[in-house]
């Protein structure tokens, strides 16, 4: 590993341009120079567990957990050293090794350690490590436990590579790495064919997104001749709006794939086939938010293209409503949470598309969401653990008494996502709603209202989920399910995350210039006072939001606590049915892509064997046929040969005579 740090001195770090904000990166030194350990530690864990095989069964899971915590410690130390520096010197660059060097394409592998990436690093390593601990309990009896931890470590390594990469191409490596880990983990119990299909669906939807990311990188190279962040940021200032729009839209396509945004959202619900810790870590807290990271990281491109920004906002708004509507109808606890994740990421996208006013809130909501959603997923896992892997909420009810800790921690997450003050969601989501109302013309009204209504629906379906699971009459029987509280390895992570759901918002978001804002400021270079005012007074918005949230929660209380919840889902009206079927997204995909695709491949296979190969074989048959006929001339009669010779000679002589 020495080679990794050797090149340090040679790289002075990219230097930003005037007017582009203080993105100057200094060469990494001190503890920051060891930031490669962030990626290396979990990668090492994955390698040991996968290569070591059965020999590591005994200690593997513990080792993986320790290495993940090791990564967190490194991250924490880097953040501490970063906090000790002046604003301008916070972004560090760590040169790793010479990676690709062909023709005009020169790219070194390196890490960019700035406040933005370190915010992610802390989230990923902390939540990731907690979920490692949780999994020690949750996966205790699984025969493939070692593999599970190997994949988890692989995921953490890839995710950290994604957020610390210094170029789009290295980011792409991490991007696909998390995709691979996600595929492996969704299909972890792939002896169930449906789960294997779900894994494939996720990977392929992500690949559609990857097409976008690939093309975006190609455009960057075409435009700027480089694909590292520093050069792209620098070049964006001088690029044409058309090029920036193209880049922005293709990046957005990539982000949509990874973050399950409209129209590539359909895989996330099925991805719940994976073990619940995976859903918590990958499909709620970290991986699915990578799209938001990509958009925020590419802010220089999006700021140069209002069109692309508008599309980001539209996608975010559609998805946040889409997810919220779907979430209202799901009876599968994990799928309802997945729909909620989709919706919450829609909020982040919307914020990220708003421009400088929204970046900080997008990241803020991403961090708080990482805590409360992971906490709730772990809670769901705890419920499933105690309920014999039942996920149908119509079979739950009244679990408050048997799973007190789960109930309490889940409640913190529930209050946080509702945005009840002073829980975490209040600080981040309400800010996004407020920011959505900033602007001119029709936009603040449309997007602001979408965000506002979304908050109300969120309150309804999250309360529905919470009440159906923990309150009301019990709809389970002792002999089928033996509900019990989970062991400490599982409840402690839940408690930690619940604590975070309570206080994280206030810690990061309190005050005129919040902690997070001042931390991230060097990255975006936002100057104070340029944010503008919402079209409605902020206090009115706050009030409206709270009213809507209370209304949503109240409605849920009426329907799912006061009224009796039927154990068999009622038929429901058309809207409910549509929402239950994910608003027919699968049917659309199937009709528009899958069936035509199957027909296309079948007909092509036919064409290839009959048509193209047939043409070649036909040529052969033609030659054989012609030879068969020509062969008849060779009849074996000497006299006819002699005649042929004579005729030939006469013709030649005649020809000579005519020529003369």
């Amino acid at each position: 590993m020495h080679t990794l740090t050797n090149g340090l001195g040679a790289y002075a770090g990219p230097v930003a341009l005037a007017g582009e904000g203080p993105v100057t990166a200094v060469t990494a030194s001190g503890i920051t120079a060891y930031a490669w350990l962030l990626v290396a530690l979990p990668a090492l864990g994955a390698a040991i567990l996968l290569v070591g095989g059965k020999r590591t069964n005994a200690f593997g899971p513990l080792l993986a957990t320790l290495l993940s915590w090791g990564s967190f410690v490194v991250g924490l130390l880097v953040v501490i050293s970063m906090a000790g520096r002046a604003d301008a010197d916070r972004a560090a660059h760590l040169h790793l090794f010479s990676w690709i060097n062909v023709g005009s394409f020169n790219l070194d592998a390196g890490q960019r350690l700035d406040p933005l990436s370190m915010a992610f690093v802390l989230l990923i390593t902390f939540v990731g490590s907690l979920i490692h601990v949780y999994s020690l309990g949750y996966m205790k009896d699984d025969p493939d436990k070692r593999k599970f931890f190997a994949y988890l470590n692989l995921f953490v390594a890839a995710m950290l590579l994604l957020v610390t990469a210094d170029s789009y191409l290295l980011l792409y490596v991490g991007w696909e790495g998390v995709g691979l880990a996600s595929w492996l983990l969704i299909g972890f119990w792939n002896d169930n064919p449906a789960y294997a299909t779900a894994a494939n669906k996720a990977f392929i939807a992500n690949r559609v997104g990857d097409l976008g990311l690939s093309v975006a990188i190609m455009i960057m190279f075409f435009q700027f001749g480089h694909v590292d962040f520093a050069s792209v940021d620098a070049g964006a200032a001088n690029a044409s709006p058309g090029a920036l729009t193209a880049m922005g839209l293709f990046l957005l396509l990539g982000a949509c794939g990874k973050s399950a945004q409209f129209p590539l959202q359909s895989w996330l619900g099925d991805a719940m086939a994976g073990p619940t810790p995976v859903s918590a870590l990958i499909h709620a807290a970290t991986m699915v938010t990578a799209g938001v990271y990509l958009v925020v990281r590419s802010h220089a491109i999006f700021e140069g293209s209002p069109t692309a920004q508008l599309v980001v906002v539209i996608v975010g708004a559609i998805t946040l409503l889409f997810g919220a509507v779907v979430g209202c109808a799901k009876d599968d606890m994990k799928k309802a949470l997945a729909a909620s994740t989709m919706s919450q990421i829609g909020y982040m996208m919307l914020a990220a598309g708003l421009g400088p006013v929204g970046y900080v809130f997008a990241i803020f909501h991403l961090l708080t969401h990482g805590f409360f959603k992971a906490g709730m997923f772990l809670g769901a896992g705890s419920v499933m653990h105690g309920m014999n892997d039942q996920v149908n909420m119509r079979r739950f009810g009244g679990l408050r008494t048997v799973m007190t800790i789960t109930w309490a921690t889940f409640m913190m997450g529930w209050l946080a996502i509702l945005g009840v003050p002073p829980f975490a969601g209040y600080w981040s989501k309400d800010k996004i709603i407020e920011a959505a109302f900033i602007g001119e013309g029709w936009r603040p009204w449309v997007f602001g209202l979408a965000a506002l209504i979304g908050a109300g629906i969120t309150a309804f379906y999250m309360s529905r989920l919470f009440f159906m699971t923990f309150h009301g009459k019990k709809r389970w029987t002792e002999d089928i399910h033996h509900p019990h509280e989970s062991p400490l390895t599982m409840t402690i992570p839940m408690m930690v995350l619940a604590f975070g759901s309570v206080v994280l918002g206030a810690i990061l978001g309190f005050g005129q210039t919040s902690l997070l804002q001042s931390w991230l400021n060097p990255v975006f270079g936002i100057t104070a006072g340029t944010e503008g005012e919402p079209v409605l007074p902020a206090n009115l918005l706050l009030g409206l939001t709270l009213v809507l949230v209370l209304a949503g929660a109240g409605l849920a209380w009426v329907r799912y606590v006061r009224d009796v919840v039927p154990e068999i889902a009622p038929h429901g009206n058309l809207v409910t049915q549509a929402a239950r079927n994910d608003l027919y997204q699968d049917a659309v995909n199937e009709g528009a892509l899958m069936r035509p695709g199957i027909h296309l491949t079948r007909s092509l296979v036919f064409t290839d064997t009959r048509g193209i190969d047939g043409a070649a074989s036909g040529l052969g048959a033609l030659v054989i046929g012609a030879s068969t006929r020509l062969r008849k001339l060779q009849n074996g009669y000497v006299r006819s040969y002699a005649l042929t010779m004579l005729a030939g000679v006469v013709i030649i002589l005649g020809a000579v005579w005519v020529m003369q």
């Binding site: 790289y11 770090g13 990219p14 230097v15 341009l17 090794f97 010479s98 990676w99 690709i100 060097n101 062909v102 023709g103 005009s104 394409f105 592998a109 792409y172 696909e176 790495g177 691979l180 792939n190 002896d191 064919p193 294997a196 894994a199 494939n200 990977f203 392929i204 690949r207 990857d210 097409l211 690939s214 990188i217 190609m218 455009i219 190279f221 075409f222 435009q223 700027f224 001749g225 480089h226 590292d228 050069s231 620098a234 070049g235 200032a237 001088n238 690029a239 044409s240 090029a243 695709g597 296309l600 491949t601 092509l604 296979v605 290839d608 193209i612 190969d613 043409a615 070649a616 052969g620």
Partner: protein, 518 residues
Amino acid sequence: MNQFPWLTLMGLVPLVGAIVVWVLPAGLAPRAKQIALGFSLVTLALTVAAALTFSPHSTAQFQLVEQHQWIPQFGVSYALGVDGIALALILMATILTPICLLAAWHDLPGEEGTSREKNYFALMLVLETFMVGVFAATDVFLFYVFFEAMLIPVYFLIGQYGGQRRQAAAVKFLVFSLAGGLIMLAAVIGLYTQGPGGVDGFLVQKLTGLHLSESTGRLLFLGFFIAFAVKAPMFPVHTWLPDAATEAKPATAVLLVGVLDKVGTYGMIRFCLQLFPEASKWATPVVIVLAVISVLYGALLAIGQTDIMRLISYTSISHFGFIVLGIFAMTTTGGAGATLYMVNHGFTTAALFLFAAMLVNRRGSKRIEDFGGWQRVTPLLAGSFLVAGLSGLALPGLGAFIAEFLTLVGTFQRYQVAAVIATIGIILAALYILLMFKKMMTGPKPDLAKGTPDLGAREKWVVVPLIALFLVLGFYPKPVMDIINPAIRTTLGYVGVTDPASVVTVADPAQPTTGVTK
């Protein structure tokens, strides 16, 4: 001019090995494979030693040069030499040969120690000789001789040792190749008449930069290109490949698809581009279209296959489309990407074919639907197969990704639409690999007779080097790139093209400056 004859030696050692194996007395016949493996390893060692003497900074196009008169009356010389492209491909071929020999260890069950088995290994060594020769030849006629001579061992390897329809497949392969080769022969002779002539008139250097008339140049280009397109194989002359690769023994299929077909794409760089720059540019639009069709067509057909070996063959057609795309983009990035792709594709295909063959041997069927749940039967093998498949779909972190990406980026610099359409190939690649993996490996554990073994020690020696190569080429491809780069620059110098400049000039981040010039 003549230094230590590395290249001759690299060709000679396997040939000697083949003869030794062939004449082996009956008593020693069971040792044939060990001896063959030994000779191939010596060849590999020689190649590595030769590669170490290769200097990427040399100004001459070819290094390790040897030149002797052969048929001076016709200007034919025995001339060998390598540039970075050829060296990389020779390295790939000599790495793959021992791996294939090892994988072919028990290819002829029930015939251990027979002369038929002896001949099998001897033929593979003969093939190695020709593979080295064809990449090392710097005399056009000598290249042609090797180009055609390669067909002989492959014909026998398919026709004698293949599956049930081996004869038909072997003949199909031979006819396609000979048809292409014949057209090329005409072009080779035509090219000589246009050249300066003399006792070494067939040397590549003598034939580079000729002032050909427009129509002559184009006709000669077509003669070469058609032969290479058949070999590569490109749509629509690809249909021999699935048959040949399916009927052949897996080790033969690897050498056929992984190495021999590269002669086609290698020939496009070395002969089409270098000798006929004008005609190459003239043909580019058509070639680019055909390449894009190959990419998508091969991938779509792969999705529709029910036979695993055929599926792998069709993925290769798709990958060759990428390679041709990169070559004819005529940018340094695309060219280097294509060359890197050739090397990576060799290893990827080898892994896919050989690992699939291990599964087929255990199951006794090539039909994908006869598998299912094999992840629980042979976890190590399934995992290895997954890694090979991921390399096939060019997952970042594995070597094929960098190659594919550079190819596409290089293409994008000139042909944006073609590059974007070809990028759809990455989605299709995910489909054909993952659908196959799902059908074969996932699902409930099948009811098989107990004792289906997982990877054995010999098989591990096949698997580990290939996977190690994927990872090395994925994260640290610099050594290979360093030798490829100058060769690509030289070739494109002959073509007379320079990379398009980026639209916006951005200061090189390696030299920190603050302004941006437009």
